[in-house]
């Protein structure tokens, strides 16, 4: 790169670009090598206040939580989903049926902020099933990308002891 000087006739000052290009290439290489392509991550809020663990008489003004029981198979897969003593079966279809049932319960969305789900899971249940059931009760994604909310309050029952082997 040479910069012409107006005052002079043919005089040019040559600027050595090599160090700058070196640095730019080094930075570029750094960013390319440290680039990690990963899926976006999102959070599901769970409220587990300390006083909720204490046993006591239930609050009459509060809607009782919808209890969902997740039974695990020996391999940790979800064998059965039971909501209010009704079985929805296991696997992907079980989660779909649960989603439809919760959607019909919540209806027009007026219960979204009030309704609460309590998850009662087997110790060995694979964690991905918990996320699936939370997804099934939390809402659904609309074709335009928006999320239609169903139940926002989710909590866990006290943990079960590990099975004796």
């Amino acid at each position: 790169m040479s910069v012409p000087i107006k005052r002079g006739e043919d005089q040019k000052i040559s600027i050595d670009m090599t160090p700058m290009i070196d640095i730019v290439f080094q930075l570029l290489s750094f960013f390319i090598f440290t680039l990690r392509i990963s899926a976006q991550e999102g959070d599901f809020m769970i409220k587990m206040p300390l006083n909720a663990r204490a046993a006591g008489t239930p609050d009459p003004d509060q809607t009782p939580p919808i209890k969902i029981r997740l039974r695990a198979g020996t391999d940790g897969s979800c064998q059965d989903i039971i909501m209010n003593d009704r079985s929805f079966g296991g696997g992907i279809d079980g989660f779909k049926r649960l989603h439809q049932e919760v959607a019909s319960l919540v209806g027009d969305g007026s219960l979204t902020s009030e309704a609460e789900v309590e998850l009662d899971c087997d110790y060995n249940l694979k964690y991905e099933n918990v996320i699936r059931v939370i997804t099934a009760v939390s809402g659904e994604r609309q074709p335009n990308g928006d999320i239609l909310k169903m139940i926002e309050k989710i909590k866990f029952s006290p943990p079960k002891p590990p099975p004796i082997e």
Binding site: M1, S2, S14, M17, T18, M20, I21, V24, F25, L27, L28, F31, I32, T34, L35, R36, S38, A39, Q40, E41, G42, D43, F44, M45, I46, K47, M48, P49, L50, R53, L70, A72, G76, C121, D122, Y123, N124, L125, K126, Y127, E128, N129, V130, I131, R132, I134, T135, S138, G139, E140, R141, I147, F156, P158, P159, K160, P162
Partner: protein
């Protein structure tokens, strides 16, 4: 940049401007997509997928990230701990630090990044340990799944 031609005494000048332009554009692109939040990611933890997993609109005020591997080990503050109960001393330390700043553990959010095949019982044990230390707010992290 000048090159001397072998045949004659003249020099050939290459215009470096377009290359520098492209380099800077690439550099700017990589700077913008650099994700610092990925620093908490660990290859041992493969998150479960959910169609509803969406990045939060605003970041948690005082996040504490706990990761659970497939084997049930807990990764906290760069340390790998064998069981959830081993996290308690670290959480008590966090609690002390929060109290020194005039905050309470209830203000903090525990972000749980559990491996998709981890046992739910271990995750629940971890939540129970956090409750013992006074933490109340939890978020379960999942990766976005295209529906």
């Amino acid at each position: 940049m000048k090159f001397k031609s072998r045949s004659g005494g003249g020099s050939v000048e290459i215009d470096m401007t377009p290359m520098i332009d492209i380099c800077f554009q690439l550099l700017t692109f990589f700077c913008f997509i650099l994700n610092f939040s990925g620093a908490e990611q660990d290859e041992r933890v493969q998150l479960p997928a959910s169609t509803l997993a969406k990045p939060p609109e605003k970041a948690a005020e005082t996040p504490i990230t706990l990761q659970v591997t497939r084997e049930g080990r807990v990764i906290a503050v760069g340390q790998t701990l064998p069981t959830p109960s081993d996290v308690l001393p670290l959480l008590n330390l966090e609690r002390t630090l929060l109290e020194q700043k005039g905050q309470s553990p209830a203000d903090a959010t525990i972000i749980i990044r559990g491996h998709r095949d981890a046992k739910t019982g271990v995750i629940q044990e971890l939540i129970k340990v956090c409750q013992t230390a006074g933490f109340e707010k939890f978020t379960l992290r999942a990766k976005e799944e295209q529906s």
